[in-house]
């Protein structure tokens, strides 16, 4: 599938499809931290690469990003981005002790955050796999704490090979008191879109 042209119908289908996946992921996170986690309606963006870092608050914002490649019949990238302060609050909840902002990320904190990302991604991919009738397997997660722009680069490589625009399905999620918030991105490889649309019936008409 070359230069992605998406109809309203396609956009709606992708939004609904991601909504179900992120719904499962938010429930899993709520159970894990014992706090209500809400999410916004997913946004389907077909946008120049330069605008992607703006979605999370700018290319220089310090964030924790966890990246997965998605393998199986549908391939793509998943990127979960927490502003660094949100990631620290999340770690405090999980580890039961404060994490000071000056402190380098400890091995324990890094693996705890990676584990959360694993749980979010597995819940998301399980729900999507059921919906599409395919098996979707996440790669091992990779964590980096750095500038948002630098972290987003990695997730854009596949898409930059295929065209000049990034297709991303983005959902912002937050804990009710707003101390924790983050962004969940699915970047389907353009070659996988046809299968997605076929399976969810959006290719008809």
């Amino acid at each position: 599938m070359t230069p992605v042209a998406l109809s309203h119908r396609h956009v709606d289908a992708l939004r609904e499809f991601s909504n179900i996946g992120v719904g499962h992921a938010a429930t899993a996170l709520s159970q894990l931290i014992g706090k209500q986690v809400s999410m916004r309606v997913p946004k389907v963006n077909l946008t120049p690469f330069a605008t992607v870092p703006e979605i999370v608050g700018g290319a220089e914002l310090l964030v924790a990003g966890i990246h997965f490649r998605v393998m199986g019949n549908v391939t793509g990238d998943i990127l979960i981005v927490f502003p660094e302060e949100s990631a620290r609050v999340l770690m405090e909840l999980l580890l039961g002790k404060p994490v000071s902002p000056e402190e380098e990320w400890s091995e324990t904190a890094a693996s705890a955050l990676t584990e959360i990302a694993n749980i979010l991604t597995s819940s998301y991919l399980n729900a999507l796999g059921k919906l599409l009738g395919v098996t979707l397997i996440p790669s091992v997660p990779a964590l980096a704490v750095d500038m948002a722009g630098a972290i987003i680069d990695a997730a854009l490589i596949e898409q930059s090979r295929a065209g000049d625009l990034a297709l991303l399905i983005e959902t912002e999620f937050f804990e009710t008191a707003r101390a924790i918030r983050g962004h969940f991105f699915l970047l389907p490889d353009p070659a996988s879109l046809r299968l997605i649309f076929d399976r969810i019936g959006a290719s008809r008409r």
Partner: protein, 170 residues
Amino acid sequence: MNKIRVGIADLKIARAPAVLVSYGLGSCIGIALVDPYQKIGGLAHVMLPSVTAGSRGGDPLKFADSAVETIVTRMLEAGCARGALLAKMAGGADMFAIAESHQPAGTDPRSDARPRIGERNAHAVRAKLGEMGIPLVAEDVGGNHGRTVELVPATGDLVVRSVRKGCKIL
């Protein structure tokens, strides 16, 4: 000070006292060219090594090799002398390198999907500059950290900032 922002797959040319800046480079590379006599600078932010490396083409500013050609053309149009041009670059990191090294060799599914794109980007810039006979006088590439670069045409400095590795001037 007038700071001109250079986005992903973007290129800007400016004359002193303006400053060109590109934020948050990961595996991407900031390619800077200066004409120290005219005090004109050009900064590009590229994502991939070359059009031929498994890509479908598109915007030439996305690729290291075609972007180098484009900067040179645009700088000559702006009045630079070809023989005066000097190049510097920064970026080309492997952002998730640490997590990947935890995987036993040969079992990491990522190694096939992304064979060190940052390193290949840097290599492509060096090769193209060499081919065009433009000296690469300084570089800060590789590692696993993000970089913000600022090109100051007035001095020819390329200021590289990062979260944990501090600031250096090339």
